[in-house]
Symmetry: C2
Subunit: 350 residues, 2 copies
């Protein structure tokens, strides 16, 4: 366990840490006291049927969801809905390698799967928050992986699902991309097998990791259109060294690796013996599949193949040359398209 | 200087090493004795007007050009044309960091630019081989960068040009992608600032570099379609560890870095004070611009922007889910399309 001020309430709160007890993990490990960092917006109505769940993505927390996606007049409107944002295990806010004591902390943290997160969230909602029905589960990237897992695993609880820029079963290409991210960190001698005193020790590895995100996270058109300057970084060097590197630099390496391990292995078909069609066939939620047009690692074609296996679903790609990291909210037109689609989905009878 | 059997005649020959003398470099350095490794096919006719120049790409040599692109009945038909394949500086066959003695060898090798290669090739052709006119310059990737540089720099000598999967001016996105490749090698402690005893010492860095090529070199559709298995590697792990890693493992790290530095800075507009339109306006060659449909770092859109600035040129994208590395010759349909286009180009009056 080490201290990392980046994840504190000051920067990422307010969030509530809710202990859901011991969580047995699919890979055989156990989180003895699984704490989920939860941020809620709006009020659960008397019918208890206006809850929306938003799981988080790799490196993201409830803070960016709050700042970019939630607000009056938005699809995720706290005046209408009770929005529950749950930070994933390993996010740095919830139980994570860096904040776990003893031999199971840091590099000793057990491998966690997307399904472990979803089971933990299910327990949180049903046992602690009194929520038995979800009007919508919506998430981007790893949030989409969790969204799919929710819709497959708890089909009677999820009324609507909106996986954005993510897949139900990860692809080989994406697995290898993520492996290069992992390698960037673990190859830094200062990573030292996961034993370091602070994130800054692993600055070189985290910088290489950030640079790979610069290559794959946006798109070729993003650079061609001069978008780095448009979002405030006049030179390519500033964009890489200030924005991309600065974004990842304070994060905990072991936490990122915990999430990356999950991301690589996202696969709803584990519940159906490897049969993806059967797994997606379980979904009862009205589902809008929303890839980003220029996403380089969760490309529309990979998402459309899965959408075709979900009854009554709709393929609603979002146009943005910002690619995968349009999720950051850099492209107002992307957010507008997303809101239009989410509002349409929420208006669809369950 | 170190010995590296990978680049020997046994594996990459036959090629002739031709010393073109001292070459002053744009960045201020000097190659005291610039040797170009040249492989020729077919015979120069009496009119001396049937020569085709093929410059090489990053990591590639004249051998793959011979094996995949040249043959009777092919567009590059040695029964009709005198095909001259020139291995680029830093390729490992021509003058390169690993085969240069003294303080200017290895990490002391001076920075070389695409334009330096093209000037060296121009001297080779005009002063040593008696070639004053080129029926065609054709190359892929860094070979395309050299093709553009040839057409801009020596417009009266190049009758036809076929840049495949490459640009006249490199993009920011591609610059950063290449930087991640560079980082993968230089971050290996065994790279040791460029002082190592053999490539195998830098195996870890070269493997990370190979894995990044696996992500960006092919395409998401390539993996989705199970192409790794189709080309002989049943599992993703074998594809990465045997094919991709095996391909790059014997190459010299300093040589790769020499080429990468050039690649990052390819820019024909250096001849016109940064005015790309003016530079491409110099081209007199009949030009077919041929990106690969699924190329992740020289995407069709980036190539089409340049094509629009070349008088009388044609945009002829080649369809292949093998992406950039379709250049390897893994997709017969790609080679067929290429040959159709090159034959059409060669049939066009100059």
């Amino acid at each position: 366990m080490i201290t990392n001020a980046y994840y504190a309430q000051e920067g990422h709160g307010p969030y509530e840490l809710i202990d859901i007890g011991a969580l047995d993990l699919e890979e055989g490990g156990r989180l003895r006291s699984c704490k989920l960092a939860v941020a809620t917006f709006g009020t659960l109505n008397a019918a208890r049927d206006n809850a929306i769940l938003v799981p988080t993505w790799y490196s993201g927390t409830s803070k960016i969801i709050e700042q970019v996606y939630i607000g009056p007049g938005r699809a995720l409107d706290p005046e209408k809905y009770h929005v529950v944002v749950v930070n994933q295990i390993g996010s740095g806010l919830s139980t994570s390698p860096h904040n776990t004591n003893g031999p199971h902390g840091m590099a000793g943290f057990p491998p966690v799967r997307i399904a472990d997160d979803v089971r933990a969230q299910h327990r949180l909602l049903t046992e602690r928050l009194g929520i038995e029905r979800l009007a919508l589960v919506v998430g981007g990237s790893m949030g989409a992986q969790q969204t799919y897992e929710w819709a497959v695993r708890y089909p009677d609880m999820v009324q609507r699902a909106a996986p954005i820029a993510g897949t139900a079963k990860n692809t080989d290409h994406d697995f290898i991309f993520t492996e290069t991210l992992v390698d960037a960190i673990t190859s830094d001698p200062a990573f030292n097998g996961g034993s370091y005193a602070q994130s800054a020790d692993v600055a070189a590895g985290l910088k290489r990791h950030a640079k790979m995100w610069a290559v794959m996270g946006w798109s070729t058109e993003f650079y061609q259109a001069g978008r780095p300057a448009a979002i405030g970084f006049p030179t390519l060097r500033e964009f890489i060294d200030t924005f991309m590197t600065g974004y990842f630099a304070p994060m905990d390496p072991n936490d990122l690796l915990c999430m990356a391990w999950k991301w690589q292995r996202g696969d709803v078909s584990r519940t159906t013996g490897g049969d993806l069609e059967a797994a997606l066939g379980r979904i009862k939620a009205k589902t809008f599949v929303m890839p980003v047009s220029h996403d380089m690692f969760f490309p529309p074609a990979d998402c459309q193949r899965e959408q075709a296996l979900i009854a009554g679903s709709e393929f609603r790609p979002l146009q943005s040359i910002d690619g995968h990291l349009a999720l950051f909210g850099t492209d107002p037109a992307f957010l507008q398209q997303l809101d239009v689609n989410l509002k349409a989905l929420l208006a669809t009878p369950a």
